[in-house]
């Protein structure tokens, strides 16, 4: 990933692990994190005592200490957190890859455990399970004071306003989001790990109840429990391990305006003026450093807190032209198996599960290993990104 890295030290994903994904699991976030980390180590044949680096989301409630003292990891040489919520998906890998390629650590674990199901709150803090936005209380601080008194609090409401602006500027239709919801639910139907195994039609989508116009229930990420972990090491170490390694070909971070400052977000992006910001900036550096083009990507795992994020991401990263995300989806391009760029082949956040997007990473690894439930034939290059409404980033993974 980093220019000048000797081939033997190139960052390689060797292990993936995940818990069951369910609406409610009667285990703590720490227990789920341990399950996922052990599964990831087991997947590649490493002992958890080999782990010497840990990367997590800043908002992750299972700390480095919680994890290593629960699992008996003897010492850490590297730890890092990534800001924002779903913006951090790919940045966890960027950080882990930076650690192993620089030599700071040899075996870095990335993890995210989350209890978000309706009955899963385990504390009164906004990040202690359940719906964060519903637990802010009556004195919202920071920029939330310019949202909450007007009844704007949930991410669905914020994304609806972003989506509406895109519809106004480009003629994008709500049905375009619906078609992506339908495609992902069809992918989930044939993924045994997915929570939502019953496919839906566009008619079902249009009958689903409105959450925040134009966003309907089936456009939303699921509220569920579960955990995911990955192990990143060097290419040289990977050759001794159980699974074929997946190379971190390129990674890039970027400041994307954040949805919790919606007025600023829209001032920066809502005119769609072609500014070099957010995914557009990340994408240019990402594809530039890898020497490949968006058209070379075989499968895309796109952060989809809401399905409206898919067309906007496709546009920003150059998978289609500005304003063409809706028609791109309508053409069937994002559907597995026939689309030219299958998106969220595991079913995404409205089909498989919502582990804050981190479950998109093991799906990319499975596609590159050739073991995905909905396998893209001959998959060689995968794209994974974080939320386009947070501090964000993206990676290109290759076999």
């Amino acid at each position: 990933m980093l220019a000048g890295t000797p081939p033997a030290r190139e960052a390689t994903i060797v292990g993936i692990g995940q818990t069951a994904f369910e609406k409610s699991i009667d285990r703590s976030e720490l227990a789920l994190a341990c399950d996922a980390v052990l599964a990831a180590c087991d997947d590649c044949g490493l002992s958890v005592t080999d782990v010497d680096g840990v990367v997590r989301y800043d908002v992750e409630q299972t700390t480095e200490w919680d994890l290593i003292y629960a699992l008996g990891v003897p010492h850490l040489n590297f730890f890092a957190g990534t800001p924002s919520g779903g913006g951090g998906v790919a940045n966890t890998i960027v950080l882990a890859a930076t650690a192993v390629e620089s030599g700071l650590a040899d075996h870095v674990v990335v993890y995210r455990a989350r209890k978000r199901g309706r009955r899963s709150a385990f504390g009164s803090g906004p990040l202690e399970g359940g719906r964060p936005w519903a637990k802010v209380g009556t004195r919202p601080s920071g920029t939330q004071q310019y949202h909450h008194p007007f009844g704007l609090a949930s991410p669905a409401q914020e994304m609806a306003i972003i989506a509406r602006r895109h519809m106004h500027v480009y003629g994008t239709k709500a049905e375009h989001f619906g078609l992506q919801a339908v495609a992902q639910r069809r992918h989930a139907a044939t993924n045994p790990a997915a929570i939502m195994r019953n496919p839906i039609t566009l008619e079902d989508w249009s009958a689903a109840r409105m959450i925040a116009d134009p966003i309907r229930l089936v456009d939303c990420s699921l509220e569920n429990d579960g955990a995911v972990a990955l192990v990143v090491t060097t290419a040289e170490r990977a050759t001794d391990l159980r699974q074929p390694g997946v190379r971190v070909l390129a990674g890039a971070m970027g400041e994307h305006p954040i949805h919790t400052q919606l007025a600023v977000f829209l001032a920066e992006t809502g005119a769609y003026s072609g500014r070099e910001t957010g995914g557009r900036s990340i994408g240019h550096r990402l594809f530039g450093s890898a020497g490949v083009a968006p058209a070379d990507v075989d499968v895309a795992l796109i952060f989809d807190h809401f399905t409206m994020a898919v067309p906007l991401t496709l546009e920003q990263y150059g998978f289609c032209g500005e304003g063409e995300g809706g028609p791109f989806i309508e053409s069937g391009a994002t559907s597995w198996p026939d689309g030219r760029l299958p998106v969220n082949t595991h079913g995404g956040s409205n089909g498989e599960a919502f582990i804050h997007g981190v479950n998109h990473l093991p799906e990319a690894v499975r596609q590159l290993r050739g073991t995905a439930a909905n396998q893209v034939p001959g998959c060689r290059l995968a794209f994974v990104n974080g939320s386009i409404t947070d501090c964000s980033g993206a990676v290109l993974l290759a076999r």
Partner: protein
């Protein structure tokens, strides 16, 4: 009678003048004393020229709907009895965008570009919301 769980701005911080002027039925935002940029939300420095010098200047109170949504459950408890209600982002004629609501307008008549003007709704003896209504 407003519900006890109605969300209120915090008593300290950069936003205090904004809410205090709203209480006086005035819509004011910061304007940089050096480069003249109007900014909202309130911040300690101008994002264009980094100056700390700023005045809280009155806005004309006119603008247009930049985008909007209609909210259905789940919503904040204080808004549960108001669904479906709108939230709109207003583009003020001075430039900044601002989250608010459009009142005196059926939800189905809301549209991007709708010209609006500010009006003030006293929530209780502590809080006043600057909201907007269609300009006729």
């Amino acid at each position: 009678m407003v519900r006890e769980d109605f969300p209120k701005p915090p008593p300290t911080g950069d936003g205090v003048p904004f809410w205090a002027y709203a209480r006086e039925h005035e819509l004011r935002v910061q304007r940089c004393r050096d480069c003249g940029l109007h900014r909202f939300h309130p911040r300690p420095r101008c994002p264009r020229c980094r100056s700390e010098a700023a005045d809280w200047v009155p806005c004309r109170g006119t603008g247009s709907v930049f985008s909007y949504t209609i909210c259905y459950p789940p919503v904040l408890p204080a808004y549960a009895s108001s669904v479906p209600y709108n939230v709109a982002v207003i583009e003020l004629d001075e430039g900044p965008l601002m989250v608010s609501n459009v009142v005196d307008c059926p939800n189905e008549e809301l549209e991007v570009g709708l010209p609006v003007e500010v009006c003030f709704v006293d929530v209780d003896e502590e809080l006043t919301l600057p909201q907007f209504r269609p300009r006729r």
